[in-house]
């Protein structure tokens, strides 16, 4: 139905979208997730040309949206859009907001548009607010009216741009319930959202966007339960990380400790947890890994804090032949190994192509 090829968008010097490729089929419910500022909304806005893409193609039912000859206004009518800030027409009553498009653009009779609008209002549960003005509604009600207004144009796809981000937490569910209902009815939708549980329940496909590209995509089970790539995993599990690179045997240990301390404070870790991290890092890096490193030294340390579980993950990536400092060539009574093993809960070590990756859970 819609296929996007090599879509890119620059704002001046900064490239917001780099190379987006995606196929959207009829009946799909696609959630777009990802950290803030990675171009999720921009991507959605490019789809109906609220933003003009810098390059690439958007093909809808065989017509290229970026072709100068294409009637953009016609094509836009097939794509509804629901905004974060509702954007209801404040000088019109709720019912007039919904009737405006059908009467003026679809050339429906006023009576027909009115009846249709009342049906939609009933569907979103707001029939009694038909004669209210937007500023007399709560945020959740406004967003439901906005959805009804979009549906009144009988779109083939509805784009939701963070529909619940501007809402009070108490009103999020009433809006999501409406979207869920639409999904059940088989409406094709694309939803930019931060509601992970909702995205997991309702979507048929999830796109994870990171730094202007679709970093990982797949069915919700994959993205949420078995993310294939690090950044996806970090995002899904809300992992905050601190990374430090060691490039010399005489590296600055104080700077590393100060970094861990600062990160720990920021994540509200206790002084004891911070001390434990420092201890483990010191034992592993100084006493075990450094002596085996060639020149130059190539060790990357990453400290991760998993918000959901409160756990701490240490990841050490280092060059060299396969080597697990906790298992290989360990002498009886090696104090460092004993200390680390006492502190950690779990440990994995993989080695491939001259790179080792040791992951500890504290």
């Amino acid at each position: 139905m819609i296929s996007v090829k090599h879509l890119s968008k620059d704002f001046g010097a900064s490239a917001v979208l780099k190379d987006i490729n995606v196929e959207i089929k009829k009946g799909e419910v696609i959630s777009i997730i990802g950290p803030s500022g990675t171009g999720k909304s921009t991507f959605l806005r490019c789809l109906n040309l609220l933003e003009n893409p810098t390059g690439g193609e958007i093909i809808i039912d065989g017509l290229n949206l970026l072709d100068k000859k294409t009637n953009v206004f016609r094509l836009r009518q097939k794509m509804g859009m629901v905004f974060q800030s509702f954007n209801l027409f404040s000088h019109l009553m709720v019912i007039e907001n919904i009737m405006l498009g059908p009467v003026d653009l679809l050339k429906m009779s006023r009576q027909e548009a009115f009846d249709e609008a009342m049906k939609l209002l009933t569907m979103v549960g707001l029939a009694e607010k038909a004669y209210a003005y937007p500023d007399e509604l709560s945020g959740g009600q406004k967003q439901r009216v906005a959805i009804a207004r979009t549906l009144a144009m009988r779109p083939e796809i509805v784009l939701f741009d963070e529909p619940t981000s501007a809402l009070d937490p108490t009103m999020v569910s009433e809006v999501l319930a409406v979207v869920r209902k639409l999904a059940e009815e088989g409406m094709t939708m694309m939803i930019v959202t931060h509601e992970m549980k909702f995205a997991r329940d309702v979507s048929t496909r999830v796109l994870f966007m990171e730094e202007g590209v679709i970093y990982e995509e797949g069915p919700p089970q994959q993205i949420f339960e078995r993310p294939q790539r690090d950044k996806t995993r970090a995002f899904i599990h809300k992992i905050k990380t601190f990374v430090f690179e060691i490039r010399s045997k005489a590296f600055d240990i104080y700077s590393l400790n100060a970094g861990i301390e600062g990160f720990g404070r920021k994540q509200m870790l206790s002084q004891k947890q911070i001390y434990n991290i420092e201890l483990v890092v010191e034992e592993l890096v100084i006493n075990k890994l450094l002596e085996r490193q060639g020149s130059p030294v190539d060790i990357t340390l990453s400290v991760g804090y998993v918000e959901e579980s409160g756990g701490i993950e240490l990841t050490l990536t280092y060059a060299g032949p396969a080597y697990n400092p906790l298992e290989d060539d360990v002498e009886e009574g090696d104090l460092s190994v004993l200390i680390v093993k006492k502190m950690m809960k779990a440990c994995t070590c993989v080695s491939e192509a001259g790179k080792n990756k040791l992951r500890l859970t504290l």
Binding site: L50, F73, N87, F89, H91, M93, E96, L100, L105, Q111
Partner: protein, 509 residues
């Protein structure tokens, strides 16, 4: 002098300021003297009295009040005018010494044959007694005979020789003024009418401010002007004069000493017996005598015509300027910005005069039209900026939502942006319209007789300041109030909350 010399001396000097009457030209040394803007009294006075400060006024009634109130020591006027005023105001007297003797002439454009033709006719009138008869009539006391004779059709007149556009002053009774139903009256006017008749030409009378007469002549708005105009060397540099038709003089009106004035009784003073009867008399003089309410009504119509049409065209033009100002192309927004800055930085009086005397100088165009053009331009500059802020104040998200529904830019503007911007703009628009309506009071500068000018004309006849000015203010207030009311009806229309909550064209189910 023994005793209290200081006190006695102080008394003398104090009374000398207030009471010592002016009896000769020398007494006016270093004093303030009033004269009409654009006249040559200042030059003549400087020749005979040293150190005078000149004060320039636009109408005679203001000068009478200024002399009576002691704001100026004397008022310089043409002898016939001075005599008439002195007869009406017993507190005023004419100094026996004249500033100078002078000669009045009709002025025409340089090199225009009308000057020579008119001079010949004036020569004839002097010989056959017509001139003398006119002087007797206009300088006399009987108001009943003071009308311009209707000469059309007499002596084989058919007006084939052309038209004389005759500009004349409005405030120098008995020479040149405006009377009953706005009719041009006075010796100068009758003379011009008789000259036109003698030359077999039609005449078109254009009442104007004295100060604008020569400018109007030079910019070809009129062909001949008059209004007690003294023939001076300086004026001869810019216009031609006919031979002199009256040798008058320049006189000074001063306030009489209190004792002298007490003996005389001013009709205006006599009516000060009760406030109510005085008010009634003022009302009669200002509105009823000579059907002056008709003048006022004409003035109101002109004021309304100029303000309403300027508001309509100014709003349309302002909308265009606003669109240009909001455009992305520098070719559009820079001219719009320059236009707005230039107009906002120019006084409307100056703009009007530039339009009337310079830009439309050689074009035969109705002054009212020029005023409408000027005020439209001025209004547009202000309105365009108002509209711009109003449009910018409309939430951008709604614009996007409408675009996303499939509306094009024009439709979005018409259906979403405009109705909301109108609501932001109307309250300020109302204020700007009212201030424009009041600003139209300066159109007298380009020979338009609006409400203010009509009140000037009436005051130049009644020599009264208080009542006509207050009445004019009240009329302006009433007009402004009515306009505010009309605009607030529109305001209700664009305020969604004050509309009935019904959906048009739908049977409510």
């Amino acid at each position: 002098m023994p005793g209290k010399p200081d006190r006695a001396q102080a008394d003398v000097s104090l009374s000398s300021i207030k009471e010592v009457p002016i009896t000769c030209l020398a007494d006016l040394k270093g004093k303030k003297i009033a004269s009409l803007t654009g006249t040559s009294f200042d030059v003549s006075i400087n020749r005979v009295i040293p150190g005078v400060t000149h004060m320039y006024f636009n109408d005679s009634s203001a000068m009478v009040q200024a002399v009576l109130a002691g704001k100026v020591s004397a008022w310089a006027a043409d002898a016939p005018v001075a005599r008439l005023v002195a007869a009406q105001f017993p507190e005023l007297s004419i100094l026996p010494e004249l500033i100078c003797v002078d000669h009045y002439g009709l002025a025409v454009r340089k090199g225009h044959p009308l000057g020579r033709q008119a001079s010949e006719v004036i020569g004839r009138f002097k010989k056959d007694g017509t001139m003398k008869a006119m002087e007797d009539k206009w300088f006399g006391a009987d108001p009943a005979v003071k009308v311009i004779p209707d000469l059309s059709g007499k002596d084989g007149f058919d007006g084939r020789a052309g038209v004389i556009r005759f500009g004349h002053d409005t405030v120098t009774e008995p020479m040149s003024y405006v009377g009953d139903k706005g009719a041009s009256l006075g010796l100068d006017v009758e003379l011009a009418v008789r000259i036109a008749h003698a030359l077999n030409m039609k005449i078109e009378r254009v009442p104007m401010n004295f100060g604008g007469l020569i400018a109007a002549l030079q910019s070809d708005k009129v062909d001949m002007v008059a209004g007690c105009m003294t023939i001076t060397e300086e004026r001869k540099k810019s216009v031609d004069f006919t031979v002199s038709y009256h040798s008058g003089g320049q006189a000074l009106l001063v306030k009489k000493a209190r004792a002298e004035a007490a003996g005389a009784r001013n009709p205006a003073v006599a009516e000060k017996i009760t406030g109510v009867s005085q008010l009634a008399a003022s009302f009669r003089r200002t509105f009823v005598t000579e059907d002056r309410y008709k003048l006022v009504w004409q003035g109101i119509q002109v004021t309304l015509l100029i303000s309403v049409l300027s508001a309509v065209f100014g709003t349309l033009l302002g909308f265009g300027v606003c669109l240009m100002r909001r455009a992305k192309s520098a070719w559009l927004y820079i001219p719009a910005k320059v236009f707005i800055r230039a107009i906002q930085g120019t006084p409307i009086v100056v703009l009007l005069m530039i339009l009337y005397y310079v830009i439309f100088g050689g074009v035969d165009i109705d002054a009212v039209l020029v005023a409408i053009i000027g005020f439209s331009i001025n209004f547009a500059a202000y309105v365009s900026e108002m509209m711009r802020t109003g449009i910018d104040a409309v939430d951008k998200g709604q614009h996007e939502a409408a675009v996303a529904l499939g509306f094009n830019r024009v439709e979005v503007f018409a259906k979403i942006t405009f109705p909301q911007a109108a609501r932001h703009v109307l309250p300020v628009f109302k204020g700007e319209f009212i201030s424009m309506l009041k600003a139209t009071s300066i159109v007298g500068y380009i020979a338009i007789q609006d409400l203010t000018k009509m009140s000037d004309i009436i005051r130049s006849r009644t020599y009264e300041a208080f009542f006509p000015l207050i009445a004019t203010a009240l009329i302006y207030f009433a007009i402004a109030y009515a306009m505010m009311f009309l605009l607030s009806l529109v305001e209700v229309k664009v305020d969604p909350k004050r509309r009935a909550r019904v959906v048009k064209g739908v049977a409510r189910s």
